[in-house]
Amino acid sequence: MSIVTPGFHGRGRPAADLPPGQYLTEDFPVLSAGPTPRVPTGSWTFTVTTETGREYRWTWAELLALPAETVTVDLHCVTKWSKLRTTWRGVPLDTLLADVETAADFAVAESYGGYTTNLPLADLLDGQAWIAYSYEGEDLTAEHGGPARLLVPHLYLWKSAKWVSGIRLSHDDEPGFWETLGYHEYGDPWREQRYQGD
């Protein structure tokens, strides 16, 4: 009997350039663990909180005023679908974290609606992560995490927190929503790190 339903959108054809165990999909499945938050951009904020409790906050207008990048990346979901060559626009975390004073090694992404996911701070830096607000040239819809989501495409997609509201920095690795329910603390799709112990 199957609790998790990988491939509930149907299995596509396998492709050589996919991580192990993944299948290719052309659509963009919507996965959700709760009601879709509707966050007006007028009240949206993004907050970085350091290990000392210091906060750095941006409004929607302040986010849009920062230099943005357009990136084309592949997405790999732990439920086994992969979607290739998706194009996003957003602000690199390098820019948002540039002036943040921290000695932390770990980060927890927090979302409107209560979702959390953890990752090493290093994985948010060096051009690996963005606060994305546009998908394929359009405003990011709420179903896909808009008005803005974290985008960390080198890890399984559950790390790319939808409806992101902030990043909390910490000396300790604090497991998030799926990481406390048997999923891997890091989640590298190329090493097939789906579950604890993989």
């Binding site: 009997m1 609790i3 339903t5 919507v30 959700s32 709760g34 406390t180 329910l181 048997g182 579950y195």
Partner: protein, 88 residues
């Protein structure tokens, strides 16, 4: 708008792996708002890496269940109490 969740009966089969009693008529109390109601009344989100059951009153997470190849993970920390009828 179409519902993105199904009713709590979706938990009954998976929970049968863990519990010897039938939980479909079990009554649960929400740790978020104190609301009490049957398992079948929960809102279960299943298009996700695991099953996430939420209180129909306050939307707080009451039950989370995920199956990996080697383990079943159950999180009930959003449920204050669980009442199960005994066979008469």
């Amino acid at each position: 708008m179409t519902h993105t969740y199904v009713d709590g009966n979706a938990l009954a089969g998976p929970l049968a792996d863990l519990f010897a009693v039938d939980l479909t008529t079990a009554v649960l109390r929400c740790a978020g708002c104190g609301r009490t109601g049957p398992l079948a009344g929960l809102h279960v989100y299943q298009k996700a890496p695991g099953l996430v059951a939420r209180c129909p009153g306050c939307q707080a997470v009451m039950v989370r269940l995920a199956r990996t190849p080697t383990r079943v993970h159950l999180d009930l920390h959003g449920t204050l109490a669980l009442a199960v009828s005994l066979p008469s």
